[in-house]
């Protein structure tokens, strides 16, 4: 008989999301729900998920175990946020007002705002300061149930400053209960000093940055912003291929502001994920499906950028592309780091069902980060990362009141509301 030192007991519903990853098509909505369920863990790993009345027969709960009474609650896997830009310095709140007065992303960038402004502030910041600033943001994400979170570099755009961001991510991962997954995004933007010479900057990324980042094992993924004004499909493919050769797995910012060809690059290079996809078309969706690329959709960014449209989630699901959800938390349009808000917009603005959105925010997001063996569902052997929600699943999609009663990472209670 297994011992348990942590139990979430007698939930009205446990949405396990258990099963093979990624989920696609009709299978995207399979929650593996257990009514009247309990989850138990030992040393941070799940040892039991099942009906509450079977717990005692299969598990010996230690006398001093932590036991959360989840009657009236719903338990879901800890949210996995597969796309964030959490480590940066500076403040761009004034640009918000400009955008609300009608300025576009491109106009703000052309006036020296946007990414370039955060780059200037981030280059000037110390690593300690980057850690301190990001820690607060991470606490906020944890409060909304995020337990694993991808974080990108990309506000340094010099070797030194990119490494500083990646070091900050490593330090935060070590100290914070939320697990971080580091991504090198040196090709986030062409820095001011390379304006008009983007091929030279691509060469710097390919020949200097990627080898150093890989050698120091500071990143697991390589990402690129494939968009007009940033990097072309050809440049993007070259960078992702160079990253892959060095051991950095590819993912890509694709078709966010226009049909820029990013999804096709994702399929060609075998990226694990293509992110944003607001302007993806059916042909590109079929290429993604055939290549086994996960669509990481970021509706919060689409709302706050006032794109007036959202990624075609239903079309992607119908074409067999596995869909994940993230927040795109960032200093520009990433004004919310709440996975429940991403789920809300997925349901009401992108036409996903609540079940599909929940799988997208957990198991499929974990798969998009190559973490589905460890997190993303409540299954024996996985980490005990879970969120206890007040009431039923619909509490997730009521904006204005946090439905989170408790957040658990690796069998430890980190948020209790």
């Amino acid at each position: 008989m297994l011992n348990a030192d942590f139990v979430i007991d007698r939930a009205d519903l446990v949405a396990t999301c258990a099963g093979p990853a990624p989920r696609r098509g009709r299978d995207q909505c399979n929650l593996g729900a257990i009514r009247g369920g309990s989850v138990a863990a030992r040393d941070g790993r799940i040892v039991f998920v099942g009906p509450a009345d079977a717990l005692g027969r299969q598990v010996a709960v230690e006398p001093d175990a932590v036991r959360l009474d989840a009657r009236g609650c719903t338990v879901v896997p800890g949210f996995v946020d597969p796309h964030t830009h959490l480590v940066y310095a500076g403040d761009r709140r004034d640009e918000l007002q400009q955008r609300l007065a009608g300025a576009t992303y491109a106009e703000i960038a052309a006036a020296g705002g946007g990414i370039a402004r955060t780059v200037a502030a981030t280059r000037a910041a110390s690593e300690d300061e980057l850690v301190r600033l990001a820690r607060t943001r991470l606490d906020e994400m944890a409060a909304w149930g995020t337990t694993t979170c991808e974080v990108k570099s990309g506000y340094g755009l010099t070797l030194e400053s990119e490494l500083a961001q990646l070091h900050a991510i490593r330090r935060l991962d070590a100290e914070h209960p939320v697990d971080l997954v580091p991504t090198f995004l040196g090709a986030h933007d062409v820095p001011p000093e390379y304006r008009g010479r983007s091929d030279d900057y691509v060469a710097l990324v390919v020949h200097e940055m990627i080898p150093k980042v890989a050698e120091a094992r500071l990143a697991e993924w390589c990402d690129v912003f494939c968009e007009e004004g940033a990097f072309t499909p050809e440049q993007s493919a070259a960078i992702l291929r160079a990253g892959a050769r060095a051991g950095l797995k590819p993912r890509i910012h694709a078709d966010e502001l226009a049909a820029s060809g990013g999804a096709r690059v994702a399929a060609e290079v075998g990226a694990r994920s293509a992110d944003h996809l607001v302007f993806v078309d059916e042909g590109a969706a079929e290429a993604l499906a055939a290549a086994g690329v996960c669509a990481v959709l970021l509706p919060i960014a689409a709302l706050y950028l006032k794109l007036g449209r959202y990624a075609p989630a239903r079309m992607l699901i119908d074409r067999g592309v596995p869909v994940a959800l993230g927040t795109d938390s960032n200093p520009g349009a990433g004004l919310s780091s709440s996975m429940p808000f991403a789920i809300t917009l997925a349901c009401f603005a992108m036409g996903m069902t609540l079940e599909e959105a929940l799988v997208a925010a957990t198991l499929n997001a974990a798969w998009s980060l190559d973490r589905a063996e460890a997190v993303g569902s409540l299954e024996a052997g996985k980490l005990m990362d879970a969120v206890v929600l007040d009431g039923d699943l619909t509490s997730l999609i009521r904006v204005g009141r946090s439905p989170v009663r408790a957040v658990v990472t690796k069998g430890r209670l980190v948020v209790s509301g």
Copy 2:
């Protein structure tokens, strides 16, 4: 020299929204902002609004006055929510899942769901139960900064049950720090027992309900749901005219699900507000402007109903219609009672500026309820209803963290975060 027993001191910014109401056109964005400002009150009424350094010269702050240090904060008028359905019994969360799976409002209503289901539960509830259920909802609204709130009947649809709802509203108004403004909405839906005989139900509303409600002085406003499946423009006009004759001022649910003619009825009968207006056209907007009707826009409902579009706020403002914002908190699609969320959607989904949206959520909303003499702006003589926000105004539009540090009604601190 005036005495003060309550002071909000040294805010980075006080957005007073002071000046004549309603605001329209270019004037809709006029915040009357004071940098480095203070607000002082005595016995619940504002006695001073101005630069912090002028406070001491104009006002004697009593030794035991409550003093909130607002450095680093922004102060705005308490939010006025001009459209809610807060008093009801029963639960329709399961319909949410149906709607997410593709069912429309009309399909759910045809299957016995929707308003009819809440009517059944509300009829069966006692007045005490209605008060108890609504109290929790009102606490939640207060936590997000609402200090005045319109509340409609409309889930009784019998004389007795409508009166019970209105009595519950009166009791809540007396006991709760949020001020309530009662609206009679007997014509919210044709009740099941009158199906196919809507003219007979209109006669009941006109000849029995309106006189009794007016006689008991239980409502200030008369509202009607003018929409296919509910009441025709002719029926709506008849009801609003009967209400006006009895002293109940008119407002109307107009053009929410289709271009149903409601806006034109509002202009014809001289309604104070036309609410929803998702499908209003330019001709009707000009009629509203000419008749001095306020547009009460409810973007939370448009999102949660998955209408795929929002009221044309810019067109309405350009045509000179004063625009107000509300939540439409209700048991169906009114899943959020947060005025900051209504402001967020107004900005990012309806194209309003933050300044326009803030005026819409305060002064214009107060005007739409005929309360602009008492609330809606921070001006000497008005009630001391205010919200203290962390940081600058953009904190209002970051979904996921409450920006509310304090809520004051009539010079008393009711929420402190």
